[in-house]
Amino acid sequence: MNDNNARRVVSVIVVNEASVLSRITDLFSGRGYNITSLTVAPIPESKYSRLTIVTSGSVRVIEQITKQLHKLIPVLRVYEHEDMVEKEMALIKFPISENLSDINTICEAYNGKIVNVGENVVIAMVSDEPKRIDNFLCAVKRYNPKEIVRSGAVALER
């Protein structure tokens, strides 16, 4: 926890209203904090949305981020995750000429599979911890991925 630039995951529950996302991203940019990834979606059957922000900084910086987020009027709650389940999804496009059964097998190890087959390309989907997604992307490099999209992380405290 003493690492000055450690990776942190923060979840923010906000009123789902106009410009609330700008309030949050402005706070990060205005105070010089980083956003590594950000996901946002409405919470079912409520007036709130949930954001998951992956950022980095020292304990003091994260404490400030948490407090400053909480200070925003439409913010209901801020969780600084310590013990969480964290997942991220990735979609990867491969040429159809690559070894598809190899690709599919690797995907399975990362909770995924080939989800779409086109004339020239296939699209594979995996979903796992962000660090494992890194590993996966490294492992499939030799199959010449043409395009990669990552969703950003979502997290729930255990």
Binding site: V14, V15, A18, S19, S22, R23, D26, G30, R60, E63, Q64, K67, Q68, H70, K71, I73, P74, V75, L76
Partner: protein, 565 residues
Amino acid sequence: MQISGAQMVIEALIAEGVDTVFGYPGGAIMNVYDAIYKQDKFRHILTRHEQAAVHAAEGYAKVSAKVGVAMITSGPGFTNAVTGLADAYMDSIPLVVISGQVPMSLIGTDAFQEIDAVGISRSCTKHNYLVTDAADLPRILKEAFYIARSGRPGPVHVDIPKDVTAQIAEYNYDIKLDLETYKPHTKGNPRQIKKAMQAIANSKRPVFYLGGGIINSNAADEVRELVHKTGIPAVETFMARGTLVHDDALLIGMLGMHGSYAANMAMSETDMVIALGARFDDRVTGKLSEFAKNATVIHVDIDPASISKLVNANFPIVGDIKNVVNDMLAQSSVIDAQNYEQWRETIINFNELHPLTYYEDSERLKPQWVIQRVGELLGDDANISTDVGQHQMWTAQFYPFSRPRQFISSGGLGTMGFGFPAAIGVKAAAPEKTSINFTGDGSILMNCQELMTAVEKKLPVINIILNNNFLGMVRQWQTLFYDKRHSETDLSVQPNFVKLAEAFGGIGYRVTTKEEFDAALQDAIKKDVVAFIEVKVERFENVMPMVPSGGSLFNMMLLEKKESK
């Protein structure tokens, strides 16, 4: 009741008890100004610049302890007001600023006088709103006033498109606010307070570090009582001036970059800092790692984000200062004032070693003398505002403040041009007191058009221009840190300040001696009209003592000792 959005604004202002609105009309806000024309419940003060309208509302809010209100139009009207919003945000001043916006159908089309106002104000307001339906206006205005004055106060901006002010909708202000996500924490944790009081009792060299939050919380009486009951010496920040009476034996002085030697030394030697509504600003702490290095820190603040932001607090207490200090008073018997006798003597010695003073060793008047003299003549009977620069620091150092809300100055943002319009707002809120604005020859030109407002509305502010023909504070830094290269700070070319005041229908004086100054001040008070008193002061006087930027508080540049006159 079915009324227009514009009428709703008027009704809401009346319901909030607003008696004065500062503003400037324009295209997008015309519907509201038409409704202002038709009402007689509050007065509107037309400033001559939107920035001045917001500063006047700030001055009004500071002195009256109410929410200040300013009204402006879209586009340039709004952008002119941004400096005022930022100023109020930095100094936690409660404001509701209402701006007009182009009609909804034109938003996003680069229409005439269109600007993304809420986009700009987001980072310099406590909260802001773009109203898209008149039916929302009563709730939004009620929330705006509540958010502005509650918790850590601040400016709230409400942007209303022109068609929304024309739209007819149901108006009902008698609604209960339901702000599930905004609940300021006003009551301090009793267990934490108890522990903190015990820690104070165990300390040997405690210091109260009093901040502007005390004034916002209207807690000066309680703080005075706590200081006297415990016998613990206190330093004040710039924003807290007037919390203790200037001659209180337990008031060490102001701390920080231009704080007194004794205050800064006490802060460096203390083993227990009791911060009340202060935020450890860089102009206060100097080099952070050396600030109160050996001290335990108790930090009371209503804003949790201010606690442990810069200096780690051993006892963080989130709450309204007034509540927490009352709780501390209830337990003050654990503290024995006798224990700090030696510590108090040490501080007296600090003060005797390097008292806050100046020398009258020049042909020209010293600016510090002028400020002290006004203090002797008017003291408690004046409200004092300032602009920004050397004169501002000298005012904080040498004016004998005796009550909270007596000193109105731009602390956090350091806005030149703040003083005169703020003093107009001060005079509007407290007409029975003399309203003095100490200013410099640089600052006064940044909002001198407000002479017209003061003349028209008969708000006789007395501006004392301490004229050294320099942008003095920058000149001081250039002298000290840039090898005397006085880049673009020589203001030898100046207007005739006397004629300038007279051109607007005010009154002007130029003085060079003590006798002339006394006569001018007395005449200005008697004439009861807005005045410029230009005082020719020593050009190269420096604000001393000084902690160079980023230096440690105990490493001060001190006034060279000379024979005092």
